[in-house]
Each structure stands twice: as C-alpha cells, then as structure tokens.
C-alpha cells in the first residue's frame, strides 16, 4: 500500500513536465549508453552485411539512379551559387543585421543511434551525442529521408530522441506548411495515430490550397524547429468536427526501423 502511494507520487512528480535531468539520472544514462553502444553498432553492421548480400542485384539499379541524381545536383549547384550571390548582395542592400543573415545557417551534427527503447508506448531512441557536443532540448533530428523526431532529454554524452511516432495531444505540435505553398498554407502537426499509422495535421484553414500528395515541411514559424525539414506527404484531407478548419492525414517520409545514423539540426546561436 505504501509502495502504491509512492508510485503515484513519483508519477505525479514526473508528469509535471520537469525539464532537465538530475545528476544521478545523467550518470546512469551515460554509463548505460556507454555499454549499449558496443552492442548496437556491431549488430547493425551484421544486419547490414546480410542485407547487402541480398540486395546485390538492386545495387546496380540504385547506382544508376544515384548517378542521375548527382548530375541533377551539379546542375542545381550552379543555379544555387548564382542565387546565393544575388541573395547576399540583396541582403547587403537591405542592411540585414548579422542575426538576420545567419537565421538559416543550420549546422548538422552527425550522431549514432546506440539503443532503442523496448516499450511500445514510449519508443524513444538514444544517440551518442550530449550536452558536451552542443546538443540541446527541442532540436530537430532528421535522416536523409526526412524528419525523425525531437531531442527530448539531454545528458552529458548521450541524449534521447522522441520520435514523431510519439507525438500526442499533450505536447505542443510542430507548425508545418506545404512545399511550394509556403506563403498560403499552414497547419499544426499534432499527433500520431498508431492504428492508421498516419500523422494528424490540424488547424488548417478552410480555404487552404493544400491538396492530396503535397509534401509537408516544417514552417519554422514558431522559431523552435528549423525551417524546411520534410515531414511527409498528404494522404487525405477531411473537414474537422465543426467545419471551420480542416484536418489532414500525413504519411511519414522517414523510415523509423533499423535507424543507424541520424543528423541533429543545430540552429545558429545568435537567435536562440
């Protein structure tokens, strides 16, 4: 009975959204993480090795595709350089401050996943970078395919990612927009429905031009998450309960199983 009261008390304390971790918690997390990374990586290499043998035939096709992409990339690079130069000269003309110039100067930190939580309702991941490497809470985490999640807890040399799969109505959502319609489109990615495996995007205005198949990006409007990270594609749009706004179902872009390497997006210091 006493233990039950204690249990409720501990849960009550932890639910009150205490940010940051205490020293013993950090120590425990870091030492465990230290051991876990010896296991996760080799296991990943082994799994990858067997997969590669299976995929040998598909490799040739992929190579071809990559060559096409590189060609497209070099073409775009020339365009991009020219655009960057004009952009810079325009910024000079308009007397941008240093902070304004650096607003989109993101840094990407390369991190290894070292463990996956064995809890179906709390599928967090642990990575091998912590506050020592400049990781802070609420930084966005991406893979080459799209956004994966948000840094939720940080200790000295490890930190925890809350994947987008764990978004629920209790946490603040991510403001998002559609690719190519950044000026007119707006919504909030608020929760993930495990039964349909779709993200829910709510608070979309009734006259929003968003349609099925659009790519959804982070909008960067709330100044918490960076701008332009791919979240997913629109699968369907419905009117919400009162008919004033619309709700969209979004299929996630990133693949969440067998994650090995992720990138943490670090925003420039000046505006934080």
């Amino acid at each position: 009975m006493i233990s039950f009261i204690l249990f409720i008390a501990v849960i009550g304390v932890s639910i009150s959204n205490r940010s940051g971790l205490t020293a013993p918690e950090k120590f425990l997390r870091d030492t465990t993480g230290f051991v876990q990374q010896w296991f996760y990586k080799p296991a990943g290499y082994m799994a990858g090795f067997f997969q590669d043998i299976g995929n040998l035939r598909a490799m040739h096709e992929e190579n071809e595709q990559l060559r096409m992409t590189v060609a497209a990339y070099t073409r775009d690079k020339v365009k991009f350089n020219a655009m960057e130069q004009t952009n810079q000269s325009l910024q000079e003309l308009l007397h941008f401050t240093e902070a304004q110039k650096k607003i989109n100067d993101y840094k990407f930190l390369f991190a290894q996943v070292i463990a996956v939580s064995p809890d179906p309702y709390n599928q967090t991941l642990t990575i091998n970078l912590g506050s020592k490497n400049g990781i802070k809470e609420k930084m966005a985490v991406i893979t080459d395919e799209g956004m994966v999640g948000i840094i939720s807890k940080v200790s000295e040399v490890t930190s925890t990612i809350m994947p987008l799969l764990e978004l629920n109505d209790q946490a603040p959502g991510i403001s998002a927009t559609a690719l190519g319609k950044q000026k007119q489109s707006f919504g909030i990615v608020s929760s993930y429905n495990k039964e349909t495996q779709m993200l829910q995007m709510t608070k979309i205005a009734a006259d929003d031009p968003m349609t099925k198949g659009d790519t959804i990006l982070t909008s960067g409007l709330n100044n918490v998450y960076p701008e332009g990270l791919v979240i997913g594609t629109v699968e369907s749009i419905q009117d919400s309960d009162f008919g004033l706004t619309k709700t969209a179902s979004i299929k996630l872009a990133a693949d969440f199983d067998h994650l090995n390497e992720v990138l943490v997006v670090q925003k420039p210091e000046a505006i934080q």
């Binding site: 425990l28 309702y121 967090t124």
Partner: protein, 175 residues
C-alpha cells in the same frame, strides 16, 4: 558475489533487448514485437531463487529502463516489474516448477506487465488506442518472442538459480 552475477546477467538482458533485438526483428514487425527479456529473468528469479531478489531486480532494472529511455512517466516500469516479480514469487517460490509451468508463468507475467503498462498510459492519456487493437498489434506478437526467449534460457537459468538458492539454504542450516 552471487547476487552480482544475477545483476550482471540481468543487465546483459537489458542491453541485448535494447540494442541487438531491434536489428533481428524484420522491418514489418518493428514496433510490434517488443522484447521484455529483463522481465523474463525477473520471473525466473521469482520462481527459482526468491521473491525478494525478484522484487529488487524488478525495481532496479525497471528504474533503469525508466531513466535511460525517459519518456512520459518515471517509475512505471520499476513498479510494474517489482510488483509482478514479487507476486509470482509469493505464489511459486517454494514449489518445484516444471518447464511448462515456467513458460506459463512467463507468459502470464508478460501479459500482466503489458496490460499494466497499457492501462497506466491510457489513464494518463498518453495513448488513445483501444485495448483490442493493442492486444493484436503488439502484446500478442511480443508474447511469442518472450516465450521463445524463456524456452531458450530455461535450462541454464533454472540450474543457475537453483544452485544459488541451494547454496543459500545449506549455509543457513548449520546455524
């Protein structure tokens, strides 16, 4: 010394379930088959060692799980694992459990644990899914993995724990 061995073993189970197992599970079942190897070790400790060691192991490694994968709540795993370990220890500590019995206990323990997790998360509204969906989606598939693990480690773990328990009793008798 002997208790350290058990703790080391449980820690190994903890590390394996969070690092190696996610790689073995095929992509279609990722997030659906969830390993609870530490719980299996705790239940074996309850059956073949003592209910107190099960209580301590459950609380300790549940707390480790809570802290390392800090998500919505703190202390849930610790409480659930300790309670389940102690209860099964209370029921079965002195009996000579057969292999079938052990498997049934592991299955029931895991089911109880998953249900406890589900209901607590449901009460605090961290999950909106229905019970029947949760059962089909991950609770039952995970049960098969858990049974396979229990079967694989049954003989070595039982022998080990019984030796430990035997040593303990033979030491106490002369006094």
């Amino acid at each position: 010394m002997r208790m350290q061995g058990i703790v080391g073993l449980t820690f190994l189970a903890f590390v394996v379930q969070s690092t190696i197992v996610p790689w073995i599970i095929p992509g279609e079942f990722a997030g659906r088959i969830v390993p609870h190897f530490t719980l299996a070790v705790v239940l074996f400790a309850a059956m073949y060692h003592s209910r107190h060691s099960a209580l301590l192991l459950g609380a300790g490694f549940g707390l480790l799980q809570d802290v390392v994968f800090r998500g919505h709540l703190l202390g849930l795993h610790a409480y659930a694992m300790a309670l389940i370990g102690y209860l099964f220890g209370l029921l079965l500590e002195r009996r000579r459990s057969t292999m079938m019995m052990a498997l049934v206990v592991v299955a029931f323990g895991t089911l109880l644990y998953e249900l406890a997790l589900y209901f607590v998360y449901k009460v605090f509204q961290f999950t909106q899914e229905s019970l029947s969906w949760a059962l089909v989606d991950h609770i039952l598939p995970s049960l098969f993995l858990q049974l396979a693990f229990a079967l694989a480690v049954y003989i070595p773990l039982r022998r080990w724990f019984q030796n430990l328990a035997m040593n303990r009793y033979s030491k106490k008798e002369p006094e």
